[in-house]
């Protein structure tokens, strides 16, 4: 078999194999059971909780969880604004990079707080090391926030009927210390051995073959890159992200980063099954997500490997695949695979330029973010998927002649209302954002790299990426303007917190309801049939509403190329 394809299969299989035991471990961490790292972190946490006078034994209901979540996120945002705007005169700035403009700082901090990392700056020139460190901190805590929110959902379905859903700070701190930190640490060690720099010395100089002296940006890259993937953040240290040789030096580092971003989203699904003691349900969820993922990934690998036939027709050798915007050390198939991994999961790190993907590959990348729940970001992927489960439960519940139930809880008008608002939000933000950008060329036309269908795709991609909290870009778009900074900033806030609050609210409401024991007439949600139903709902709700917009973008581009 082609070694490049084999490499992809190894990456994917390894991720699944690692995710299964990791899921078990995560379930243990959240259930408060004994784990290996307790002796290290328990004393540290105790001191921390005493200083901040947090009692992690006190249970919160879903509303208290959400207030805690929003409060700490607000604090991080304010500190971040302060640091980025004044970093020019703060310590740890060996390259003397200036402070950020308010709109860029707003966009940057928001996008790191919401686990999106839509980077409208280049790390080399835009940030001091202190700024980079704050952003690295945000990559941990934003991932921790998403995971803690997912655990509230876990808790809601473990007990028969309860409003006590554990303590937010407990979940949050455990996510960071017991899960994100150790996994990132292991990956950082591997990356250092592969040649990723870890230094505070500022720019290095090197002499090229022609004898010129070139300044090369370095920094504490090896500390930054692992959490970018493990926390499905995607914010690169350098502007070109994981296409940069320091961030992603080799095919092996590429595999490590790929596995690094897949394992926690996958493991969270298995953890859910362990935690609520319904492993079959988590297998159903995993299967639906995997089918969806493969339906996007396989065509992309194929299209990128085959390259553009119009170029071959001109007599140019195309045997390496669609190599525009790709790194030769990584190759077309691995880049095609990465392009879907990074978009289905809300990582948004790139190892090749998506702007240069084949037209329909670009469509699949867009679709991956529009659906945003095939694995999805750490914690939040499961929350997004939960919304589709609720909708599928409702329709299929009616189809079997019973008031719909999920895990023994009746799904009624209030839950449907919330689920529908959340399902509606994503198309609303993406389509309205893109429509405004298209209707107001005075603000946007200058920043587009391409006119016509591809230009529309660039705008569509930017809002889709923002709304999916993904952070990747069709990098043809010159996005550091007031228009893009402010408009995507608001999209980011709405699309992060509402899709967390919505599912958690539904879970909280369901948790308080009476538990109905399962009978022969009860719809089972852990079956292949229900999985198919959920898949159909995802395709119709998330896929079809974007069909007209996609037709004017990548689909029109595809047909016009022929």
């Amino acid at each position: 078999m082609n070694t490049e394809i084999l490499g992809i299969i190894v990456m994917f299989t390894l991720s699944v194999l690692l995710a299964i035991p990791l899921g078990k471990y995560i379930a243990k961490v959240y259930a408060g059971e004994k784990t290996l790292l307790d002796p290290v972190f328990n004393p540290v946490e105790r001191i921390f909780y005493r200083i901040s006078s947090i009692n992690i034994q006190s249970d919160m209901n879903w509303k208290q969880h959400m207030i805690a979540l929003l409060t700490i996120n607000m604090v991080w945002f304010l500190i971040g604004m302060l640091i980025l705007m004044t970093q020019g005169s703060l310590p740890l700035n060996p390259d003397n990079n200036p402070g950020m403009s308010p709109d860029l700082a707003f966009n940057t901090v928001i996008s790191f707080v919401v686990n999106c990392n839509l980077q409208h700056y280049s790390g080399e020139t835009g940030l001091s090391y202190l700024g980079q460190f704050w952003l690295m901190f945000l990559q941990f805590v934003s991932a921790g926030t998403g995971m803690a929110a997912a655990v509230v959902l876990f808790r809601a379905f473990r007990d028969k009927s309860t409003s006590a859903l554990g303590n937010f700070y407990d979940y949050f701190v455990r996510s960071c210390t017991r899960i994100l930190l150790p996994v990132s640490f292991i990956i950082a060690i591997i990356l250092v051995f592969e040649g990723t720099p870890m230094t505070f010395e500022g720019k290095d100089t090197m002499t090229t073959l022609q004898g010129n002296t070139v300044e090369v940006s370095t920094g504490p890259v090896a500390a930054f890159v692992p959490i970018k993937h493990v926390g499905t953040n995607g914010g690169g240290f350098f502007g070109v992200n994981s296409a940069h040789p320091f961030e992603n030096p080799s095919y092996f580092s590429n595999m490590v980063e790929m596995v690094g971003q897949l394992i926690i989203p996958m493991a969270m699904i298995f953890a859910f099954g362990h935690f609520i003691r319904r492993k079959k349900l988590s297998r159903m969820i995993f299967s639906v997500m995997t089918v969806g993922f493969l339906m996007l990934a396989i065509p992309n690998i194929n299209m990128e490997t085959n390259g553009n036939q119009a170029i071959s027709a001109m007599g140019i050798d195309n045997s390496l695949g669609a190599m525009e915007g790709k790194e030769i050390r990584l190759g077309a198939p691995a880049s095609g695979f990465w392009s879907i991994v990074t978009t289905v999961i809300s990582t948004g790190s790139v190892n090749a330029m998506h702007d240069s993907s084949m037209a329909l590959s670009g469509m699949n990348e867009l679709l991956a973010m529009m659906i945003n729940s095939f694995y999805g970001g750490v914690g939040v992927g499961l929350l997004n998927f939960f919304i589709f489960i609720i909708l599928a439960v409702f329709i299929s519940g009616l189809m079997v002649g019973r008031t719909p139930e999920f895990l023994g809880k009746k799904v009624e008008a209030r839950e449907i209302k919330i689920a529908m608002i959340i399902a509606l939000l994503h198309p609303l933000l993406i389509l309205v954002g893109t429509a405004l950008a298209a209707a107001l060329p005075q603000y946007t036309a200058a920043s587009l790299n391409n006119p016509g269908f591809h230009g529309l795709s660039e705008m569509l991609y930017e809002y889709t990426s923002a709304s999916a909290n993904n952070g990747s870009g069709f990098e043809g778009l010159g996005d550091n303007t007031v228009w893009w900074n402010i408009s995507t900033g608001f999209v980011l806030i709405l699309s992060r917190f509402l899709p967390i609050i919505g599912p958690v609210a539904i879970a909280g409401l369901l948790a308080e309801k009476k538990f109905i024991p399962e009978g022969d007439g009860t719809l089972k949600t852990d079956t292949a049939t229900f999985g198919l139903m959920t898949f159909a709902v995802i395709i119709i709700v998330a896929g079809l509403s974007f069909f007209p917009a996609l037709t004017l973008g990548p689909i029109a581009e595809f047909f016009s190329m022929k």
Binding site: F394, G401, P427
Partner: protein, 669 residues
């Protein structure tokens, strides 16, 4: 009672057609968000049509725009027609019941006669043989045989008497014998039937919880497609593609779930109508819906599981007693016993009781204290009764209670029978065995319920041994033996505390609290007013197995909504492939590749999609009214089946339908 087998009767259709136009009133339309947006689209198309007529440019021909307008108007009318025909059918059904209570004279106690319409709640009237009862009421004095065939279709007369659990009479039924004094229980126009007619007619129709949730879901889908359609305008402008208003509105109307939106209220009304056809009056639409969710069914043993009464099946003489001696005693003690059990003893003996020549017989009636009955004559005292009652009597007199009789009694109980011990002059003669006769076919019905996921519970006054035997024989899942009214109540509360929904049927005043507590309480029409007030349904047939039908009607109601929603949403796939290429193909000819149905022209494609969208509504009206048939094959199998028919069918059908329509439309556009 008349039945309407045909779905569309001429008179009803005319009435419904007229209503379809009346319902176009935006104020009425507003209740249904999906169809309301279609109405707005229709209004816009009317304006666009006239604008093109008077020289408007770039919007296509007047004929094309006007056709779109007419098609949208038809879509609205079809949806209204669905609702109107469902209402008309429900009303016709209710009217045929109401006809039985037309103006009849009511004889008041003071001798005057007034019209039944003048009767008020609390009035008291008298009925004598041959009289038609003028109003619903409760017998406060007397006993009568009544012909209820006008309501139930059952020709055998029934007995109604004051004081007991069968004290209600229904207006329109006929007294055959004896004289009764009846108190009016409801004012004119406030009876359950009147309330139900109001429900069907829409005046007081409230959306049920599932209907509300579904309406939210559909409104959500509508909003999504409002966003999709409106944002398409700037995107198309950006890529320099002109799109006509007709195309935008066609895209929108085809994408929103008009099929289920148009049929939703018809489905709900039809559910109540089906209940009414089963001779069940529901007090709210919610009750029918809840019936579909029932987990536990409480059924009285007598009349539901067993044929009315126990029958004597065997005489067991004690050791040393001749069988004829036992039979003689048994017959004598039952001579004056008018209960069906007593009669069955004489039947079994094949002896004419009058053949025993008795002097001065003195009959001892059954009382709750003695728990025995019998006869005294010429110094002979014969008693028959419950084992422990006779045992006490015998032991008090200093006699022994034979061991072998004790064994016989135990064996009878274990086999589901009821033993009656017979004693003469405080000496045990033997035992009469009474047995319950289980209805034929009841076991299969319980099996069907089990497959639906419903637990059946038998309620009986029998002792636990007998109850267990009958429960096993009939195939019920659980039983409440020696049941007192509060036992039923406690059982319901316990099941509800565990999250289950409970249905029960009852008739007595004793049952009223339990009927009120149950999620679905069906009161028999013959029952007391208290029971009827407490329940949320009234069964005119007084048929205890009716609950099973009610459950199926509830399930059908939910399934019909679910399957048509799936069908409606699945249709979007094909409609997209019809309309999207049509929108852009003139500007981007390369998009011909998306036109997988190979539709003739942009106009014909759009018209075909809109036509399909409109005619699918009337095509599905019969299904909406009759309901999707329920099969108890387990939830997962049912989902697979319905997903296959309505999901896959919903994707495939419009591809074929739209292509077919396009072949015809392409002749004109």
């Amino acid at each position: 009672m008349s039945t309407h087998n045909s779905l569309f009767q001429k008179k009803m259709v005319q009435e419904a057609l007229r209503e379809s136009f009346v319902k176009l009133n935006p104020k009425v339309m507003f209740r249904n968000p999906v169809m309301f947006t279609v109405e707005i689209g229709t209004a816009i198309m009317l304006i666009v049509s006239f604008w093109t007529l008077f020289g408007g440019q770039n919007q296509g021909s007047f004929a094309y725009n006007f056709t779109v307008f007419v098609l949208l108007l038809l879509t609205l009318l079809f949806a209204n027609f669905a609702e109107a025909i469902a209402e008309a059918r429900g009303k016709a059904q209710a009217d045929s019941l109401r006809k039985t209570r037309e103006e009849t004279p009511a004889k008041l106690q003071n001798g005057t006669t007034i019209s039944s319409s003048k009767l008020k709640k609390g009035d008291v009237f008298i009925c004598e043989p041959g009289d038609v009862i003028p109003s619903d009421g409760e017998i406060i004095e007397g006993l009568a045989t009544i012909d209820e065939s006008a309501i139930t279709g059952e020709s055998a007369p029934v007995i109604r008497e004051s004081g007991g659990d069968k004290s209600s009479v229904t207006g329109g039924t006929k007294v055959l014998s004896d004289r009764i004094v009846v108190q009016v229980t409801t004012n004119q126009g406030e009876s359950f039937l009147d309330k139900m007619i109001a429900l069907v007619e829409g005046a007081s129709r409230q959306k049920t919880p599932n209907e509300i949730a579904l309406t939210i879901l559909l409104a959500g889908f509508t909003l999504v497609f409002i966003i999709v359609t409106i944002t398409l305008k700037p995107l198309a402008d950006y890529t320099n593609i002109p799109i006509t208003i007709a195309a935008f509105i066609a895209l929108f109307v085809c994408l929103i779930p008009t099929t289920i939106g148009g049929l939703l209220s018809a489905i709900g009304i039809a559910g109540m109508d089906r209940a009414l056809r089963a001779n069940v009056i529901t007090k709210s639409g919610k009750a029918v819906e809840t019936a579909g969710d029932i987990d536990v069914l409480l059924l009285d043993k007598t009349g539901t599981i067993t044929i009315g009464n126990r029958k004597a099946t065997k005489f067991h003489p004690a050791d040393g007693i001749d069988e004829t001696q036992l039979i003689r005693a048994a017959v004598l003690s039952s001579m004056s016993d008018e209960t069906p059990e007593g009669k069955s003893i004489i039947e079994l003996s094949e002896v004419n009781p009058l053949s025993y020549d008795l002097k001065n017989p003195q009959f001892i009636k059954f009382t709750a204290e003695t728990r025995s009955s019998g006869i005294n004559f010429e110094g002979t005292r014969i008693r028959k009764g419950a084992t422990d009652a006779i045992k006490n009597m015998v032991m008090n007199a200093g006699n022994a209670f034979p061991k072998e009789v004790e064994t016989v009694v135990k064996v009878i109980s274990e086999n589901g029978g009821t033993p009656l011990v017979v004693a003469e002059n405080e000496k045990v003669l033997g035992v009469i065995e009474l047995q319950d006769i289980i209805k034929t076919g009841i076991r299969e019905r319980f099996e069907r319920l089990r497959k639906m996921g419903i637990k059946t519970v038998m309620v009986t006054g029998d002792n636990p041994l007998t109850a267990k035997y009958i429960a096993e024989k009939a195939g019920v899942d659980d039983f409440i033996a020696e049941a007192k009214p509060e036992d039923k109540m406690n059982y319901i509360k316990r099941e509800q505390a565990e999250g289950r929904l409970v249905a029960m049927m009852g008739d007595g005043t004793n049952d009223a609290p339990a009927l009120a507590q149950a999620d679905v309480g069906v009161a028999m029409n013959s029952g007391t007013q208290a029971a009827k007030e407490a329940g949320n349904m009234v069964d005119l047939d007084n048929d205890p197995t009716k609950l099973i039908e009610v459950v199926e009607i509830g399930k059908q109601l939910l399934m019909t909504r679910g399957t048509l929603t799936t069908f409606s949403i699945a249709n979007d796939v094909a409609k997209y492939f019809a309309i999207i290429p049509a929108l852009f193909i003139t500007a981007i000819p390369a998009l011909q590749g998306l036109n997988i149905m190979d539709l003739h022209s942009p106009e014909s494609a759009i018209l075909s999609a809109v036509i399909f969208n409109a005619i699918i509504i009337p095509l599905l009206i019969p299904l909406a009214l009759k309901g999707v048939s329920y099969k108890p094959i387990g939830a997962s199998a049912l989902l697979r089946r319905n997903l296959f028919i309505f999901g896959l069918g919903g994707i495939v059908a419009p591809f074929a339908g739209i292509k077919l329509i396009d072949l015809i439309v392409s002749i004109f556009f």
